[in-house]
Chain length 252, copies 6
Amino acid sequence: MLAPRLRLTSAGGGPIVRVFDANWMQIEEYLSRDDRIAVPTGSTEQHGYLSLGTDAILAERVAVEAAGPLGVPVLPVLPFGMAPYFAAFPGSMSLRITTYIEVLRDLLDGLAGQGFRRIAIVNGHGGNSPVTGFIREWICQPRPERVQVLFHSWYNAPQTAAAASQFDPDQMHGGWVENFPWTRVAGAEMPAGSRPVIPREQFGLLDAAQVRAAAPDGVMGGAYARPDEDMKVVWDAGVAEVRALLQNGWVR
Amino acid sequence: MLAPRLRLTSAGGGPIVRVFDANWMQIEEYLSRDDRIAVPTGSTEQHGYLSLGTDAILAERVAVEAAGPLGVPVLPVLPFGMAPYFAAFPGSMSLRITTYIEVLRDLLDGLAGQGFRRIAIVNGHGGNSPVTGFIREWICQPRPERVQVLFHSWYNAPQTAAAASQFDPDQMHGGWVENFPWTRVAGAEMPAGSRPVIPREQFGLLDAAQVRAAAPDGVMGGAYARPDEDMKVVWDAGVAEVRALLQNGWVR
Amino acid sequence: MLAPRLRLTSAGGGPIVRVFDANWMQIEEYLSRDDRIAVPTGSTEQHGYLSLGTDAILAERVAVEAAGPLGVPVLPVLPFGMAPYFAAFPGSMSLRITTYIEVLRDLLDGLAGQGFRRIAIVNGHGGNSPVTGFIREWICQPRPERVQVLFHSWYNAPQTAAAASQFDPDQMHGGWVENFPWTRVAGAEMPAGSRPVIPREQFGLLDAAQVRAAAPDGVMGGAYARPDEDMKVVWDAGVAEVRALLQNGWVR
Amino acid sequence: MLAPRLRLTSAGGGPIVRVFDANWMQIEEYLSRDDRIAVPTGSTEQHGYLSLGTDAILAERVAVEAAGPLGVPVLPVLPFGMAPYFAAFPGSMSLRITTYIEVLRDLLDGLAGQGFRRIAIVNGHGGNSPVTGFIREWICQPRPERVQVLFHSWYNAPQTAAAASQFDPDQMHGGWVENFPWTRVAGAEMPAGSRPVIPREQFGLLDAAQVRAAAPDGVMGGAYARPDEDMKVVWDAGVAEVRALLQNGWVR
Amino acid sequence: MLAPRLRLTSAGGGPIVRVFDANWMQIEEYLSRDDRIAVPTGSTEQHGYLSLGTDAILAERVAVEAAGPLGVPVLPVLPFGMAPYFAAFPGSMSLRITTYIEVLRDLLDGLAGQGFRRIAIVNGHGGNSPVTGFIREWICQPRPERVQVLFHSWYNAPQTAAAASQFDPDQMHGGWVENFPWTRVAGAEMPAGSRPVIPREQFGLLDAAQVRAAAPDGVMGGAYARPDEDMKVVWDAGVAEVRALLQNGWVR
Amino acid sequence: MLAPRLRLTSAGGGPIVRVFDANWMQIEEYLSRDDRIAVPTGSTEQHGYLSLGTDAILAERVAVEAAGPLGVPVLPVLPFGMAPYFAAFPGSMSLRITTYIEVLRDLLDGLAGQGFRRIAIVNGHGGNSPVTGFIREWICQPRPERVQVLFHSWYNAPQTAAAASQFDPDQMHGGWVENFPWTRVAGAEMPAGSRPVIPREQFGLLDAAQVRAAAPDGVMGGAYARPDEDMKVVWDAGVAEVRALLQNGWVR
């Protein structure tokens, strides 16, 4: 009958990190010795001259780079998030909060049902953070075994924010702080200079048409770009902070 | 002030296809001359020895290859689908149908609101097809402008199914018909031979534990693999059929 | 005190089939020796010159005739289904898919709670079939005892479809294949001849107004009628196929 | 082409009453001259020795007899209602209130969309009456044209209740007041005598198991039966009261 | 460490009644010896010249006065209820019935989870009564321990209604029967005389604009006011009836 | 006919502030000259030795004191919020986030429908803040007139937090920073000293039982009390900051 010859690491001998680079037998083997998983959450939304996928690309990449050396698997990024305020910029998608909650519920229920006990949501989009209200509720529901769920917005976590702020405190949506080699798109040339920052309090009161009027190119303030060596400092801080979280961010 | 120098095609001069390879200005420009978009839908679920992302990988790839020459943009694949029957295979995720409907509603509403009028859902997972019940309902809702929505399961569309059946009529989940170079995973060696086919009617009555018992390695029947040249025939048929749909699948 | 003299069969000695022809004591007695039930699902929607209740009438009748000799009880038909595309034809009703799912959930939960373990949904309306997405999910939910749920669209099941196709392959909505003595209405005279068939792919893209424009009298193609002796052949095949399902359609 | 020879009344010359006895063309013709419709709502639930369909059978029948002479169409009865307290009696079904509301919403939206402006819900089950909370909300929603919705529980409307009370004030669920020739089932023999009445306040606090314990045969009090001539008096009052409602129950 | 010196009654030695006048330790102590709680439900809606909070003020006050001598705690009033028909009167709020059900579900689940077993909802607004449909369902759900839930509309309970009717049978919304010293507002002078009563059947068919047209000052009929000594008789009856319910309204 | 003699201010000549101190005519008059309203949101949950209503009491009071001189009306506080983590402390109530969203939706829809255009939610409970995700969505929905919605957590707004931090940086739930004369309860004596602060990151991972174990008396850290003169400084800052928001917190 079946004589599967599975090797539970990748062909190169290193651990498999992306769930999409594994089959179920490899995940089952992993679960026999660990119970952590990373769940990147992003958004498909305007980022000025940068990719519409910026938040998703960064969340998935930072999770994969952080989890790699630890051998913690990473789900594919949830590419759609909550961004109703960008609806007037074509290509921006948004899930209603009631939808988003149910997606997270299904993912958490599924992971808990398969034996994951420490789930790190590595979030790349500020508009997704209200889902913490649901996660808090989910954690408190009766459950045969305790499951911990971290929600970590990698880009403004303390170490990463500090790494960025040393270069420039103005770090708004679509600006330099999201401008990595892997978020730039072909065929788009970034302007030089910077945009005035839109105050957060004001932004929260604007509807989609007003947001577009206030940020005509989608950048909500700050410089458009910084040198790649600066960006590497920010990125490395982000990866390190996610990795530390996956290692030590849990309650015993 | 702003002097953006956008080129509306990619650096190489070809059209941009993945929405994640574009910024909003490029999508806006596209919408001034076309109103089609492809939305790949997949699943994260066991596929025997193959990648847990098989359905998502294939749906996105077939959409991108088909849409490329046409310059029709392709959203990132929705990586999670409806697969409750695979819950006993670790790494398999599933959205409840009520969740899935709301995700699709939000995506369709968002696309319609931005001016897309012909939406092709390129589906890679059989378990997702009941969402057509919702799509039919969505199409019939009052709306200022008519929006067409196609739901195309690429792998069993007539031409593609015919291309596969010429090689072997046994084509079940996880078997040769999903075994492409881009769905194999490192560190897993496929057994030789084939599995007996589980009849569809019977499968529909099994719960998650019973499904695992009936398909111990996750493959639901048929040969594990076929030569790559056969697979290329199937793939080319799939790409061609999606492309024809994007071109001619609409009502005038 | 109470001295009920129940006879657990009908006055004529035959088994009671319709749940509405029974009281709860008779159902309780039945459950002590069997665990099957038939749940007919129909629709209230235009069928051209035929009754607005065609799908409901046929589903209930075929279930009752099939279940009769077996003594399996039949719930009253759920007369409303999913038919948003017929909204422009007066008298057509439609439940949203989210509503329909909850109705089915409640019925299945209720039946399972009372001890039914093999539930056959005998469906008379194609638009209802996406509910299988929910049924699949329901079957996989944790439950103290396994419950099987079949969803059988009687009119296009293999044997019945074959019986009809021997007469004429054109068998669309509202046409001859639904024209039984018990679906004709008083005061309506059917035209002679036939209507051109509307291709299914095209139909799926039309909204309610377009559907009415494409099928002005509601018939979506094929002949309006066939001789009663032909219809009897189709009907007998349908009854036999449902009966076989109730007997042998289950997994052990 | 099409030369339909419709007659807009039944073959016998009288008006068509049941929607299931009509096709869409006949309903369309009706809507050109009237805007009323009757929607019977019942329940599938234990009624002691009587049919599990008692509430549905009576609601539909009283609506049809009342509407007949007026030519107002009657939808098929919604056979499932809210009866969670009878779950311990096999054959009793129950929709959750959240489900029931959505079913009613869909029916009312559908009827309003097709031009019905005066909708009379003829209700046969007390447990359904909380849906009036939703109906009140529905009436107050913005709508291009005003739509009136009556909710009439035929069995305890003033005239009908008075007709029954002249015979016996004890008229509880499953007792004589529901015992008509058309709610009795074959194979069941009713005991003589009567059951003590369960006080309503107390009943409202009992769960399903307690309800069965309190009403072992399902009858909640009063005599099991009365002479058919008494029942005819009650019935005639019920029919007359529904008819008066259909004629004069509307606001101008 | 902690040395809390709690006294489990109020400073004055009497029992604490309002939950807001207690801390959790006092409620915990209470639960060690009793399992009752009162939950007042009101509405924020027009009451003619009276306070927009009339229903909430009265429900909370009658509950507190009734529960005081018994030492049964009283939750803060739920100030918003179902009143869609008053939307045209500024300051009137309304929850949809689907929202209201979920609020009640959460409160009941929370109370049951903490050990309350006899919950008395003291309701001050007629429009809230359809929630009994949900409460009936909630009571019948499986639950480790039985929980009783009473829904008592204090103002039209038998004794209270009788006390009011001895003065005047015309007792409609916004009229004398709700005009207590604690529902009058500063700066508003009540007209003398009375308003004609709007028949209930007619009222139920009106939308929000029609309701305002039918009751221009919001009073739906009857005298505007009665002497305070009459009102005291009504009030005392209301308090006594709620108290009797809290004491004896339960099933053993 | 009617000759109402309304004075649109209170008897004392000052503006009416609480909606419950007004009738609908007074609110209608107010809307003819202003479009602001304050909506306090609280929670019913353990606060150590302090009132279970602490968050609701403070939110309503700070709103009323702030709005008073401006004449902006204040709705009654929504006394229930999201606090699943305190479920193990008796008397704590919690709405699920899906419920809370619908309550807010109904309130915002109602206020917008009546002409309010600037709505300030004055929040007293940290657990409620995820509702901002919904508010952001609500603001972006199509609407005939623009409506602004502020969500202001008064206790940790910049000025108020600064006023408190000058006394002591340790300001956790249930501690001195919530200990005002109007949140203390009779019969409870506060311990002296302080509790060690539970780190926020850790707290977010705990379920209800673990929270109670980590904070045995419900206080999550910091001193139990401070002198009333210090508390007055904090309070005055809170009132001033809410007032400034009501005056200047809007976008033009």
